[in-house]
Amino acid sequence: MSADTETPQSTANRTPEELPGVVTRLFKGVLYAEADEKIWQSLLGLTSQVRDYVAVLGLDLILDEPEGYAFLRSRDDPDATLPRLIPRRQLTFNVSLLLALLRGRMLEFDTNSGELRLIMTEQDIADMVSVFLPESSNEARVLDRLNTDIKKVVDLGFLRKLRGQPGTYEVMRILKAFVDAQWLEEFDARLTDYRASLEGVAPSAPETEPAPEPRENSA
């Protein structure tokens, strides 16, 4: 009997009260210190427990305290033995380029100013991207396409619409964690391959050959 009464005690020691809340919150997406102060504080106290817990599922906790965000990432799995828990989203070239350019803008912003938040209007984004768009007589169509791309980036959580100010976005700092040197390197490499294939002797070469990534979004 005494062993029975002890069991809940010891499980309580192993899983602190806030742990389920913190972990499930992280499962749902990026946790921002600014937006979710309470959970953030619990996370800071429970970092090692959270790490241990998600490690069982092949996930890593990425916690950037100065930037004030945390999220889960798949652990490097070279043999691809684990089923994928974290879905990957496919991006068109334009969306990929937009992400890279936004990343560049953020770096510039960080090195040039002491402000905390990078705010851009639709016009700013259009100005930034337009150099890289094919010259088209139909400006409206180009802008329409850009708007779809922006919407996609908003969906991914890297841009956030400001309340009460139409056409104005905040570039979320989390972008830095996802569009990192490794990602950009891959982008650069694929782009170089693509250019080589364009200039290549075989005009019938396939237009794009994105690296084999046969994972579908598990729906």
Partner: protein, 480 residues
């Protein structure tokens, strides 16, 4: 300063460009109304737009509709644009509405323009007194010879003794009214200048911060060397002349003894007889309350700057930033190269920041509808104890009936007062009926209410007693 330095200032300095601007009078008067007048900083966009709208409305009334064609928001955006830089627009954490503050340059212009107006009264004597005080302090406190300092203190003591003796003898010298005004004006000028200085202090901190950032981006050597110079520089910020005087001011303001002394002096100053007619006497009494938030904001700026700096200097970030910059350059040139023929289809993929947990049992499944039983048995309640009279004692004043009464009386006469009508048709519902008549009179175009004369109405209650009411005279006239 030579010709070229001045010429470049004229071309590039925000303050000079403000003076040359077409809409300078508008901008300056608005800045005074919104910022320097009420001593405000950190104003939210909507509030600022409202203030500017008021200013514009007033101006368009007097100057004509077309004099200021742009909308308030456009003016604000224009003035906060980097090439103008008269307003600083920024975002604070957790708020989506931008905020504005005057830049130090705009503030300088405002003070200069205000100075142009000329003063009917210039505080000269008090200035001389402050020059003496500052000079004395400078000379005495820089003196390292103890003998000289002691001699100086002894001299001061003798002076105080002599003064005390004079007061004992009955020679109390009170500051004359002009002298008091003189000192008071000096005080207000100093206080408002001080508030303005905070803006400049903050701007100087930003400038220092910028210099450090520039050094980081253009750094070619190793990271260790960079850190060494940065740490030297970090000390520069706090140990710069600016930093030290600011810290001194902060310590001064934070000392409880000095604060209570200041508070005491200020309240006593407001009670001085000779100053009782000064218009902004009470603003001075609370000037330290304006200082605290201003100083705090500057402190915040410094804290935020150093936090940002920390992010930038984080060693992983430092190395990655260089690599990221190179890669983005390379991607940009690649993208330019394929501009005419961009890759189609899916090109890259990116991890989402959430775990894909599908919960099949969260979905609503088929559920057979349940039969709802309707119980239609009616039970007769026992209501013997309930007094239903209250229900029937409610009554309704039929305004149709009252209107008919008025019309009937007016058939025989051109006009009738309410007394005439109630004589013909006695009041049966008391005060409620009078109120209904009153309402009819106010709604009707054919009735007039004369507040200067009154009339008396009476009615009989069911128990035989008589009630009377006195009200303004109401006269109904037959419609033409």
């Amino acid at each position: 300063m030579d010709f070229y330095a001045i010429s470049s200032l004229r071309d590039n300095h925000a303050a000079w460009s403000l003076l040359r601007a077409q809409n300078a009078p508008l901008a300056l008067s608005f800045f005074m109304t919104a910022f320097t007048g009420p001593n405000q900083r950190n104003i939210a966009r909507q509030q600022l737009i409202d203030t500017l709208d008021d200013v514009l409305f007033g101006l368009r009334e007097s100057e004509g509709e077309d004099s200021f064609p742009k909308a308030a928001a456009e003016y604000l955006d224009d003035w906060a644009a980097p090439e103008r830089a008269w307003l600083r627009k920024y975002y604070v954490p957790d708020q989506d509405e931008p905020r504005y503050d005057l830049t130090a340059a705009a503030e300088d212009v405002i003070r200069w323009v205000e100075g142009l107006q000329g003063r009917d009264f210039v505080a000269t004597q008090s200035r001389l007194t402050s020059i003496f005080a500052v000079l004395k302090q400078l000379v005495q406190q820089s003196e390292s010879d103890p003998e000289v300092r002691l001699a100086e203190l002894r001299y001061q003591r003798d002076g105080i003794d002599a003064e005390m003796q004079r007061i004992r003898d009955g020679h109390v010298r009170v500051m004359s009214a002009p002298e008091a005004r003189d000192h008071f004006q000096q005080l207000t000028a100093l206080a408002s200048n001080l508030l303005g200085d905070f803006r400049e202090v903050e701007q100087n901190f930003r400038k220092l911060d910028r210099a450090v950032r520039e050094k980081i981006t253009t750094w070619d050597g190793s990271q260790g060397d960079l850190l060494a110079t940065i740490f030297a520089n970090q000390q520069d910020i706090s140990s710069s002349t600016q930093g030290r005087t600011f810290q001194g001011f902060w310590d001064y303001l934070m000392s409880p003894q000095l604060r209570s002394e200041l508070q005491d002096l200020l309240t006593r100053a407001t009670r001085i007889e000779a100053l009782s007619k000064e218009p902004n006497l009470h603003a001075v009494a609370t000037l330290h309350q304006d200082w605290l938030p201003a100083v705090e904001q500057t402190q915040n700026t410094v804290r935020q700057l150093s936090q940002q700096m920390r992010r930038l200097l984080d060693d992983k970030v430092f190395l990655e930033n260089k690599r990221v910059m190179q890669l983005i350059r390379s991607i940009e040139s690649g993208a330019l190269g394929t501009r005419g023929q961009p890759p189609s289809g899916m090109f890259m993929n990116i991890a989402t920041p959430s775990v894909d947990v599908a919960l099949p049992f969260e979905r609503p499944l088929y559920e057979p509808s349940r039969r709802v039983l309707v119980d239609d048995d009616i039970m007769t309640a026992d209501d013997a104890d309930v007094d239903a009279d209250a229900l029937f004692n409610q009554f309704h004043v039929d305004t149709q009936r009252l209107r008919a009464n008025i019309v009937t009386v007016l058939e025989n006469t051109e006009q009738a007062s309410l007394v005439d009508i109630t004589d013909a048709y006695p009041l049966s519902q008391g005060l409620a009926e009078i109120v209904a008549y009153y309402q009819l009179a106010t709604e009707s175009a054919w009735a007039s209410i004369d507040p200067d004369s009154s009339q008396q109405l009476s009615w009989t209650l069911p128990d035989g007693s008589i009630r009377e009411a006195r009200l303004e005279k109401i006269i109904f006239v037959r419609p033409a």
